[in-house]
């Protein structure tokens, strides 16, 4: 990361470049969230994440009471390619100044 040019932030994706090899948070369409180490990305926000935790939030309607039941399902995946068109936001790790 040494050189000044490499660490300069001029456009949104530069922030993602600075998150390479760091754990990031990704919010996806259809109520999915990922946390994982960023290993690769491109201009479409296609990504490869490592050591990923996925959280899926689903809402079901109970057969008898017709009440909404909110469920979260978690799973871990060692290495995952994520297609960029499903990405809503990417949050880099918090940095202490």
């Amino acid at each position: 990361m040494g050189s000044e040019e490499e660490s300069a932030v001029k456009e949104p994706l530069d922030l993602i470049r600075l998150s390479l090899d760091e754990r990031i948070y990704v919010k996806l369409r259809s109520d999915r969230e990922l946390r994982g180490k960023l290993h690769a990305y491109d201009q479409h926000l296609n990504m490869i994440l490592g050591d990923v935790e996925e959280i899926v939030t689903t809402v079901e309607i109970d057969d008898e009471t017709y009440e909404e039941i909110v469920r979260t399902t978690r799973r871990t995946i060692p290495f995952l390619f994520v297609r960029g068109d499903g990405v809503i936001l990417v949050s880099p790790p918090l940095r202490t100044a």
């Binding site: 490499e6 994706l13 470049r17 996806l28 690769a40 490869i48 490592g50 297609r83």
Partner: protein
């Protein structure tokens, strides 16, 4: 084997002259020929077992047969993860998946060279 993902010289050396023509025709059809990190990455993954998860929640495990610039994927020896839910997929042994409907691809751990990916990503970011 995982090679250098966007090393063009190495990339071209493996092509015959007719496929070289096709390769160049191919580059001309892309907006930016340098930017195809994941296309190159998936090409190196051919022959390995992956699980492709689609936006309609269907998940298919199979051997990666091929991939193209749109990240369309062809799988062989396929098996649907939740077979009971998708009985119509029972006799499908190989398939073509349109790139645009893919949500995830679960990758084999031995198909991910983290350092190579970091280098290729930085190079790609400079090219863009």
């Amino acid at each position: 084997m995982v090679g250098s993902y966007i090393n063009t010289h190495k990339f071209l050396s493996g092509f015959s002259s007719s496929s070289l023509y096709l390769f160049i025709a191919h580059l001309l059809s892309l907006n930016n020929p340098v930017l195809q990190l994941f296309f190159s990455y998936f090409k190196d993954l051919v022959g390995k077992e992956v699980t492709v998860e689609l936006k309609n929640d269907l998940a298919i495990r199979g051997i990666l047969h091929s991939v193209d610039q749109y990240l369309n994927i062809k799988l062989e020896h396929t098996r649907v993860v939740d077979q009971d839910k998708y009985p119509h997929m029972l006799s499908v042994r190989n398939c073509f998946i349109r790139g645009s409907v893919v949500r995830y691809v679960q990758l084999p751990p031995d198909g991910v060279d983290v350092d190579l990916l970091h280098d290729a990503t930085r190079r790609e970011a400079r090219g863009g």
